[in-house]
């Protein structure tokens, strides 16, 4: 019993970090990034490959973050001028293409079978052997990410990001270079997604293209919608609910032939209900009342 709880909590921690990442890009800045799974995957593959090549764990983790950020830079430069819905399709396309690369660049990525024997995490020479140790590590990373993001969003930078989401034109009118702000939002968000991916790779030990499908992006999307766009505490709470709720259905003991699709239906209906009746999510974004004049 304990192992499964620890396992689920580790998954919760990793997905929560991923939710915070998407919450920055989509929740706060309003950029529809449907390629989240590919940034997550890039982080996972890069960090796994670096570690397999002998890099220390923390360096590999950092490598995963940097590679994800580089990819974000590469696609953001030409596409950030596009209007929101177009960005969605470009990032979704990117997701498909990255997955094709994971699948077909066999020499590097191991192709369809993916990578295995990914080194376990170790900090300053101490190897994290048990699930409990890894959970503590993952939660610490989650907390650090959370406070980093809270600081960021509380700063003037965060206010501009929200302004971009609400009315980009107006933000430009008051002299903000919105492109630069959107770019930073994408870079930081993708870097955090890469971090989550790296954490996943070193935990699970085996990764393959099947782990980075579009479905995951949607799942995280739903989590931040449900938790309240732009609110990271809500995102974390929603991650807990969704992951535990989804896996919890395993224990209800439905007839096997229909239990899996039935889970999917319940999940879908709950979501429709929540979107309509809880429009701001569980915890609405905290918006500071700003006086019309000043700031």
């Amino acid at each position: 019993m304990t192992e499964i709880v620890l396992h689920l909590l580790i998954i919760v921690a990793i997905y929560a970090i991923l939710s915070i990442s998407l919450n920055l890009m989509t929740g706060t800045t309003g950029l529809f990034n449907l390629g989240l799974a590919s940034f997550y995957g890039l982080g996972a593959y890069s960090s796994a490959l670096l570690a397999k090549a002998g890099a220390p764990f923390l360096a590999a983790l950092l490598g995963g973050i940097i590679i994800s950020m580089l990819m974000a830079l590469l696609i953001s430069l030409p596409t950030l001028q596009l209007v929101g819905d177009y960005l969605a399709v470009v990032t979704m396309g990117l997701g498909e293409i990255t997955r094709s690369v994971f699948k077909n660049w066999v020499d590097l990525t191991g192709g369809f079978m993916g990578l295995r024997n990914i080194p376990k995490a170790s900090l300053f020479g101490y190897q994290l052997q048990s699930r409990m140790e890894y959970l503590i590590f993952a939660v610490v990373v989650l907390i650090l990410t959370y406070f980093f993001m809270e600081r960021l969003l509380g700063s003037p930078f965060g206010r501009v990001l929200r302004a971009v989401r609400e009315d980009e034109m107006a933000a430009q009118a008051i002299g903000k270079n919105t492109f630069k702000f959107k770019l930073w939002s994408m870079l930081i968000g993708s870097g955090i997604a890469g971090l989550a991916g790296a954490l996943f790779a070193h935990y699970i030990g085996v990764i393959s293209p099947a782990d980075f499908v579009m479905w995951l992006t949607f799942f995280i999307f739903l989590i931040i919608m449900f938790g309240g766009l732009g609110n990271n505490l809500g995102a974390i709470v929603a991650t807990i609910l969704f992951v535990l709720g989804r896996e919890g259905l395993r224990f209800v003991g439905l007839p096997a032939s229909i239990s899996a699709p039935l889970q999917q239906i319940l999940f879908g209906l709950l979501l429709i209900f929540a979107t309509i009746y809880l429009p701001k999510g569980l915890i609405p974004e905290r918006t500071q009342r700003v006086k019309p004049v000043g700031d």
Binding site: M1, T2, E3, I4, V5, H7, L8, I11, K103, N104, G111, F112, M113, G114, R116, F200, I204, G205, V206, I207, S208, A210, D211, V213, W215, V237, I240, L241, L244, G245, E247, G248, L249, R250, F251, V252, G253, A256, S257, S259, A260, P261, Q263, Q264, L278, L282, I283, P284
Partner: protein, 374 residues
């Protein structure tokens, strides 16, 4: 006020989530022997898991109707892995820890099986895969077994078919995954070594519905026969579209495609398609399975259902011989394999716990797979 209500909502939901997790009805060490099953039951790969489940269901029916194993009925707990490593580990850990099963029937996907295999060794639970064939699984450990014949054996059997058909210049079409590439590579190597010529190696993607350009490429190469490996969905469309584009040469399929789905998916175009099937040289075992399957599910056997059936039967036999414990089953599997003959053939195991298998050639005649008369 509003904030409070929301908070109440939130805690309510949280409690519900926790309750769901904690309200685990203990499986109970009562009478039945429980066995775990992890496979994709939803998602793109869902049909394969569902098909395997049918084979297991049929075997369990027959075992329980005959009085169970040592007087204990069998009960299988089915878990969904959604084709993803993380979910598979959740499912496997639940089976091992909460349901405390000594044996789990593993996933159709080699990647998923690989992910849970290490876990199986760690928690000392026997993992028996019905169809995973990846070579890397060999090194996984002593608690792993596979009931599928290896890629090597299949590739070499194809060479024998090619020799029989007296074809020297052939094309290979394969699903672009570990399985397709595995069988293709063995065949290409063995066939070239035997003096044959591979004109084109044409991969195709899973999930697609339009393979006309791929077929045209093969047609352009003018092969004397096409060898195709897939798990039915795409391969059936390839065969149909080859017919449409008048690529009229013999098609030879792998073990997986010898299933109902190929017949349905390709329709009339399947007529005359040859295949190799893992089977015992004696026919009646398969015919009986086919009839039983038809009675229970009202269709011809679906993909890999025969392998899943044999997996369950082998495990039941292993429990009978070694006892209801991981180590007992681990020992029992080898003993059971010595004599077992099922619809997917003999199950004599090599030291890695992988079935050696023997083959039979089949051909589609009047919309059904029948033994090929040499």
């Amino acid at each position: 006020m509003k904030g409070k209500r929301r908070f109440a909502w939130m805690t309510g939901m949280l409690m519900m989530g926790l309750l769901l997790v904690l309200s685990t009805a203990p499986a109970g060490a009562a009478d039945p022997y429980t066995i775990g099953f992890v496979n994709h039951l939803t998602g793109d790969m869902g049909p394969y898991g569902q098909s395997l489940k049918k084979g297991v269901d049929l075997a369990v029916d027959q075992i329980n109707a005959a009085g169970g194993v040592k007087g204990h009925p069998l009960k299988v707990i089915f878990e969904d892995d959604r084709g993803q490593a993380a979910d598979a580990i959740t499912a496997f850990t639940k089976l091992a820890e909460v349901d405390k099963v000594p044996v789990v029937l593993g996933s159709a996907s080699s990647t998923v099986t690989l992910a849970i295999c290490a876990k199986a060794q760690e928690s000392k639970v026997v993992l028996v895969s019905s169809v995973s064939t990846a070579p890397s699984l060999k090194e996984c450990g002593k608690y792993f077994f596979s009931m599928m014949v290896s890629d090597d054996a299949q590739g070499e059997e194809w060479v024998r078919v090619a020799n029989h058909l007296k074809v020297k210049n052939v094309a290979v079409m394969f699903i672009n995954n570990d399985y397709g590439n595995g069988v293709k590579n063995v065949f290409v190597k063995a066939f070239t070594a035997a003096g044959g010529k591979i004109l084109i190696e044409q991969p195709f993607e899973d999930g697609g519905k339009d393979f006309r350009t791929e077929v045209l490429k093969v047609k352009q190469a003018k092969p004397e026969a096409v060898f195709i490996v897939d798990h039915t969905a795409e391969g059936a469309i390839v065969i149909k579209q080859a017919k449409e584009l008048q690529l009229s040469v013999p098609f030879v399929t792998d073990v997986s495609m010898v299933a109902k789905e190929t017949l349905e998916g390709a329709g009339a175009a399947a007529e005359g398609v040859m295949g190799v099937r893992a089977a015992s040289p004696s026919g009646p075992v398969w015919e009986k399975f086919k009839a039983d399957f038809n009675t229970k599910f009202k269709t011809e056997p679906t993909i890999w259902a025969d392998f899943a059936f044999d997996t369950m039967m082998m495990v039941a036999k292993a429990i009978e011989l070694g006892g209801y414990s991981a180590d007992g089953i681990q020992q029992g599997m080898f003993k059971a394999g010595e004599t077992y003959v099922g619809p997917s053939g003999t199950k004599k195991l090599n030291p890695h716990g992988i079935a050696l298998g023997t083959f039979e050639w089949v051909v589609v005649k009047n919309g059904t797979w029948v033994t090929y008369q040499k």
